[in-house]
Assembly symmetry: C2
Homo-oligomer: 572 residues x 2
């Protein structure tokens, strides 16, 4: 019943700070410590029930359903499993196991004592999970109903904002609030500001008032201002929640009786300089500051039909690979801050990658095929917002085709070997890339465009040429001409060019690289999602870094001490 | 010949730090120290010729046409005067008075020694000026031609990016570059990253390479990658520039022979607690941290026609008011960092405001009427990106109608008195607001929407209702019902409500307020302009604030010392 610290934290990596424990993102419902997941026909209930003593680190208690990364890791796991393991679920009711308090948001003592990098990483992951909730609703037919049976403050209210419909109990004491600014001197960091005005269309002057009022607003006013969808008196609560859950679910195209597939534990090996899964591996070079990630293509042809995907379940290549890549991204982002450059390689048969892609797209109406494609989409989006330089290497034997070509298109820079390596045999095939249907729509970025559209933003002819080349195996010269790769050195220059690019990257300011990449990766239009990751997050990071928040006399550090924060009053 | 420090800096304000000199934004061509402005028919040439010893502060020399705020204040002045004083100019050639170097960008020693607030303010103003160049081209028929007769690096290249067409001399030594990241550990801070990918549509991986290459790219490759529009050999330079200037100008609808109007010096009085102009005044309360800005409506009816506007020239109310407000915003932003809340009032006859608006819009085809409206638009945009809390007070005797209603719509919160003040006579008129044509299109925000559209984003019915009310004098109850004001207290509550709102604002973290407002003010779509002010600027501010840039061992501080920066290698 619950997860011990030893289970959340993997063993310390040898040769590193004894205190630096490795955070694991792998969990399962039987080990949840903070959530109760129950499924009743088409309605699942996810009730927050945070164990005060179950914090990921020492030094704080998770009172009032406040959360830290560990709580959110379980939430992420539950949202994922609901999509894959419970295809019959049409509505997820997000509520609290305790009346009076839904959720008090991110734990303040945790935030106050956390390093800057931890805070930023934590906010990014929670943002991704809330985006995943909206994705489940938009693309999976699983609606989320926030049933606020008590106060939802700060991140608690932001969690509700990610849901389709918000009900707040009208009991004269429960409120919704965003107290971050007045109490802590920071912003609501998980999309709150953006969703209030851009999703719920609260008028901005009312939103301003709301975000400066630590005591929040009760149900009647919150409903009048559109901060919640309805205010429900306590006696009518259970019936109203049940009715709304049924109504939301009635709009879903989710299958009534499909069996789910089990998201079985990942086979993962983690050492100081290596992380290995079935299809994905990473070589960690702490000296050079790099992680070299290699993704293996399918070692067999795909099954014949959707039933075959279902039969393979979590072992189906695309799903297995995506789960491994997802876990690796989270692991490296959280545990390996000094590995600033990720070098991405693939190895395998391009035809088999394309065959798996085709199977999924041919059965796009199948619930499981649909889930797998959207999960791959979300995982690639996670890469897009990762603060690491991404360099893709396309070599002979690689399989950057279709879904895996997205990895190269997500990279900041791509090198493709022109010809073959000198030591290869005379029959060696040169490196090739193939544009496939997966590159032309099903895997959009957060800005709503495909990576190809973003890459050729404003250059329709180049985009059309890349599209026209779909299905053809392209050598380095063709790929360079089409603008699919950055540079195409030959064997003589390859090693030096890569070495220089990687060493150079490691010599630059890590912060400036993060800013550069956060701007260049999102050319073109902005969406609510990119605004949350770009505009809101950047401002929050700035504020987190300012003495007025995180200095010894700042609001975040002084919260709960009885002392008022001392502000440098200059407006910047 | 040039401006002395005494002229740029106004006298020290009494009772404040003797070193704290007040920066003035008022200048005129006869006093330029850094630019040569020549006009020859339809072509003006603005040649950068920075006086090394003309820096705004001590401690750095403006070598290689590098710039500081003083240089940019002159540029802003020139761009403004070209629009108002030279209606016949159709092309502005931006070049350097010295071959080999166009502009080396912002002065590094200035940046390295500047306070965080100064850096942020400096970048904001330079961004606004570059946006103004694009506005002149888009809305005034004055095209800008960047004639790079030598190297344009960093901010120098970013200045070129704001132009319609970029020519780079092909002489084997002149380059364009963005060396900020590799040399200084910061970002190109004046829109460079955004314009490279979103305006010039440079492919993002090439843009990435370019921004990590301190030596930049020469003309042939820069042209091939779309970083410049053409590479021109030195012998053909003068003729090519002249041809291109003529071509760009040929697309303009600018009048051939209209006389300009003189932007005469503003009558300004500045004291420690008061700034006064003809129509605008500000009471500065350093204790409370507020500036109370009062804008007087027109004291007479407008002239009958466009010729009348021309005859009044700089004295025409809308233009005079806009110039004063523009100067006041810049003055307070730069010189009064601790006045965190601006309380905005108006006083005058709403009918006269609306009559001035109508005259301008009835003659929208007139070059001067067009200029005035766009200048008002730009000035209101300056307010939108100002990091101060804006509170509008609508009281009896105020004239928040049409163009002046935009000030209330720009505010974070608006209070309107319901009824009259108790001490007013029995015949006193209650406060009123009027929506006018100026609120329905001519004054869009940076996001491309009007302030009303932004306010009612996603609520078409509310927007339609506000539109339908246009032309009617609305009392507090009507304005509140229509969502045009935030709160409408009566005389009994008025003083307390305002006092509490202002005091409360002053008690919050200044940084968190800046972040909150930067998010709430830009609901709805994003544009290149909002991306520059929101996404890029926020990341740059974060980076400026990080030890890797601005710490004693950071790249910005170490530049030019011969010592390499010491980076904390953690990626955040």
């Amino acid at each position: 019943m619950g997860l011990t610290s030893d289970q959340i934290f993997e063993r310390p990596a040898p040769g590193r700070d004894r205190e630096a424990r490795t955070v694991s993102f792998q969990v399962e419902p039987g080990r949840y410590r903070h959530w109760q997941l129950t499924v009743d026909g088409a309605v699942a209930t996810l009730a927050m029930d945070v164990d005060e003593h179950g914090g990921l680190q020492d030094g704080y208690e998770l009172k009032l359903n406040s959360y830290d990364l560990g709580v959110d890791i379980e939430l992420y796991d539950a949202v994922q499993r609901l999509r894959f393991e419970y295809p019959g679920v049409r509505t997820v009711v997000l509520t609290s196991a305790t009346d009076k308090i839904f959720c008090a948001g991110a734990n303040i003592r945790m935030l106050a004592s956390a390093s800057h990098a931890w805070k930023v990483n934590f906010c990014k992951f929670t943002n991704e999970t809330r985006g995943g909730i909206e994705d489940a609703s938009a693309n999976s037919g699983q609606a989320y109903l926030a049933a606020l049976n008590g106060t939802a403050s700060g991140g608690g209210y932001e969690l509700a904002l990610a849901c389709d419909h918000i009900m707040l109990v009208d009991d004269r004491s429960s409120v919704v609030s965003l107290p971050e600014l007045p109490l802590l001197g920071v912003l609501p960091g998980t999309g709150g500001l953006t969703r209030v005005v851009d999703k719920r269309h609260v008028r901005r002057d009312l939103a301003d008032y709301f975000a400066t009022r630590p005591e929040g607003l009760g149900a009647p006013k919150a409903a009048a201002w559109k901060l919640v969808d309805e205010a429900v008196p306590r006696p009518e609560w259970d019936q109203a929640v049940a009715e709304r859950a049924a109504e939301l679910g009635s709009r879903s195209g989710r299958p009534a009786d499909a069996p789910g597939i089990a998201l079985t534990p990942l086979a993962k090996r983690r050492e100081d300089d290596h992380i290995g899964y079935r299809h994905v591996s990473a070589a960690l070079d702490h000296q050079a500051g790099t992680a070299t990630i290699t993704i293996a293509g399918p070692d067999q042809d795909p099954p014949a039909d959707a039933a075959g995907i279902q039969a393979e379940g979590a072992a189906f290549w695309t799903l297995a690979l995506t789960r491994e890549l997802d876990d690796l991204i989270l692991d490296l982002r959280t545990n390996e801050l000094e590995l600033g450059t990720w070098v991405i390689k693939t190895a395998g048969e391009p035809a088999r990658v394309l065959a798996h892609d085709r199977l999924l797209l041919d059965h796009a109406g199948d619930w499981l095929a649909n889930e797998i494609v959207h999960y791959l989409k979300r995982t690639l989006k996670r890469l897009d917002v990762t603060s690491r330089s991404l360099i893709a290497l396309i070599e002979p034997g690689s399989c950057f085709a279709g879904s895996l070509l997205e990895l190269a298109l997500a990279a900041d820079r791509t090198f493709m070997l022109s010809g073959t390596f000198e030591d290869a045999g005379p029959d060696a095939e040169p490196a090739a890339v193939t544009v496939g249907p997966m590159n032309l729509g099903p895997l959009p970025m957060g800005n709503g465009l495909t990576r190809l559209q973003t890459r050729f933003s404003g250059d329709d002819a180049a985009l059309a040429a890349a599209r026209d080349a779909a299905g053809r195996s392209l050598d380095a010269a063709a790929a360079e001409r089409l603008g699919l790769v950055t540079f195409a050195p030959d064997d003589i220059d390859w090693d030096d060019e890569i070495r220089i690019a990687v060493e150079e990257r490691a010599s630059f300011s890590p912060d400036a690289l993060t800013g550069l990449e956060a701007n260049y990766r999102f050319a073109g239009p902005e969406t609510m999602e990119t605004k949350i990751f770009g505009r809101l997050t950047a401002w929050q990071n700035w504020i987190f870094n300012r003495p007025n928040a995180s200095g010894p006399d700042g609001a975040l550090r002084r919260f709960g001490t009885g002392q008022r924060a001392q502000f440098d009053r200059k407006r910047v």
